[in-house]
């Protein structure tokens, strides 16, 4: 059901966007990364990314259309001109920078350890020796776990973040490493209520930015100016506070 609603919304948005004038800015997001972008019960795209996108459009005084797009195809779709920008919690990486242009970062991602409230979990290699830790496969958290702690802990990699949460809740994992802000969202759910962040955040210098086509430098500049403006005006802080009680900028 979730998939079909998502598919239909995507289809409607894509169909709808054909009828819009050329000066409407089309922005893609994924819709599967709560609380940054997700599809609410009425089938609308919502979340931090979506709110930022709307605020930026307002600042630039441009009509905007937000479209949903699966993660795999999100960069190819941008290059094919199906939309003009991606605001979908995308990390700046060297590989991506070769094919798209990134604006200034609009938030910084950090990694964090999550573990059970009633158990001690040190976060240095020595005290983690012999523990079992999980992360999602093909993510920065998974790479960090393998590279930094692979020699000391048993690493379990999951297909989805949800499966990693399930195994943590089932007691198969002593802890997991994940992007901090989505994990923050999970800790507030009932399933996550017995768990908490452990130790210090892991700053891996992961910056999240808006992606545009490399030929669209003018649009990139406009986004940068608008971003600066909403940070100045406090609009950014307002949106931030709606999702997190701490600053993620």
């Amino acid at each position: 059901m979730k998939v079909s609603v998502r598919f239909l919304t995507g289809l409607l948005l894509v169909l709808g966007s054909f009828g819009l004038q050329a000066d409407t800015l089309r922005i893609a997001t994924e819709g599967a990364y709560a609380p940054f972008n997700f599809i609410d019960s009425s089938g609308e795209l919502q979340g931090f990314d979506v709110d930022i996108a709307r605020a930026l459009c307002e600042e630039m005084q441009t009509e905007c259309e937000i479209v949903g797009q699966d993660w795999d195809g999100i960069i190819p779709g941008l290059r094919a001109g199906r939309y003009d920008a991606i605001i979908a919690s995308m990390s700046i990486t060297p590989e991506r920078s070769r094919v798209v242009s990134f604006t200034d970062p609009y938030y910084s991602n950090v990694l964090a350890f999550v573990g059970p409230k009633d158990e001690e979990l040190g976060t240095d290699a020595a005290s983690l020796e012999g523990k079992t830790l999980g992360a999602q496969r093909a993510t920065i958290a998974g790479q960090y776990l393998q590279d930094e702690l692979g020699r000391h802990v048993e690493v379990r990699l999951y297909d989805t973040q949800d499966n990693a949460y399930l195994d943590l809740a089932a007691g198969r994992l002593d802890g997991l490493v994940s992007d901090k802000f989505p994990a923050y969202d999970w800790l507030r759910t009932e399933a996550g209520s017995d768990f908490e962040f452990k130790g210090e955040d892991i700053d891996i210098d992961d910056k999240i930015a808006i992606a545009v086509r490399r030929s669209d430098q003018e649009l990139r500049e406009r986004f940068n100016e608008a971003l600066e403006a909403i940070v100045e005006s406090g609009r950014y802080a307002e949106i931030n506070a709606k999702y997190f009680p701490f600053s993620i900028y």
Partner: protein
């Protein structure tokens, strides 16, 4: 498995930092270790599967509803649901029950371990198919052979021990080999419960190197080699247990004149 890493070091030295050869050499050991785990999973679940299948099939061929209804439902369930659903039920499903988690040894050493969850699921799954093979074979042992067994005064138990089950085992061998190869391919689902079998190791390597084509191709070749190994083993087993199918006719000329027959002369050539 240290020799694999020694081999990898040697290959890496040979590649001398040249991509993509360096990556191939560097990640090959992970694939081979994955292949070893895949082999263990398939062999162990194939053996446990056939041991479970025998009593199931015997119960299934009974005429007593108390006996045949359980294996009937069991086989219906395991043949009728996807292996992925079964493995998720065992791994993520069972762990939802608090009471199971306080079982001590059974939880700590068995049900909390992805390896044993995979073995349990694969064994139960393949047992359902093998039981059905056994049932068909038991029912198709020629009536005449059973009558002959009765005629020489074998008890019911002896008939099963000496005639029906050995005959049935010979009959299911080719199909059992088939089932083990299907299981080999099904075992790739172990990667969904964090096991680093051949598929899991390959996906891990690809998430680091982004070399989808090369490493999936390598994994495919390794699966083919494992399948070839199984095919070879089953050929040997068939030659041993079904030797009668390969028996050559004796030259009739040397037989006693009284048992020489016209039709024997034809086939003897």
């Amino acid at each position: 498995m240290d020799w694999i890493y020694a081999l990898s070091d040697w290959l890496q030295a040979l590649a001398a930092g040249n991509e993509p050869w360096n990556s191939y050499a560097r990640y090959l050991p992970q694939l081979l270790e994955g292949a070893w785990l895949t082999l263990k999973l398939v062999v162990l679940s194939g053996i446990v599967g056939i041991l479970l299948a025998l009593p199931l099939a015997l119960m299934r061929t009974s005429k007593n509803p108390w006996l045949w209804s359980f294996p009937y439902a069991y086989i219906f369930f395991f043949r009728g649901t996807p292996l992925l659903v079964q493995i998720y039920l065992v791994y993520y499903g069972l762990s939802q029950f608090e009471s199971l988690r306080s079982l001590g040894w059974l939880w700590d050493e068995v049900l909390s371990q992805p390896y044993w969850c995979a073995i349990i699921t694969f064994s139960l799954h393949t047992a359902a198919y093998i039981a059905e093979l056994f049932r068909g074979a038991i029912q198709s042992v020629p009536r005449g052979e059973i009558e002959a067994a009765m005629a020489v005064g074998l008890s019911r138990r002896q008939q099963y021990q000496k005639i029906i089950l050995p005959r049935a085992f010979g009959m299911i061998l080719p199909a059992y080999g088939n089932e083990v190869i299907l299981m080999l391919k099904g075992s790739a689902l172990a990667s969904t419960i964090t096991l680093l079998d051949l598929m899991g190791a390959t996906r891990n390597v690809i998430s680091r190197t982004y070399m989808n084509l090369e490493f999936f191709l390598m994994a495919g070749v390794i699966y083919l080699l494992i399948a070839a190994l199984f095919i070879g083993c089953f050929r040997l087993l068939e030659n041993y247990f079904n030797a009668h199918q390969k028996a050559t006719h004796l030259p009739t000329g040397k037989l006693d004149v009284q048992v020489q027959d016209e039709h024997l002369k034809d086939t003897a050539r």
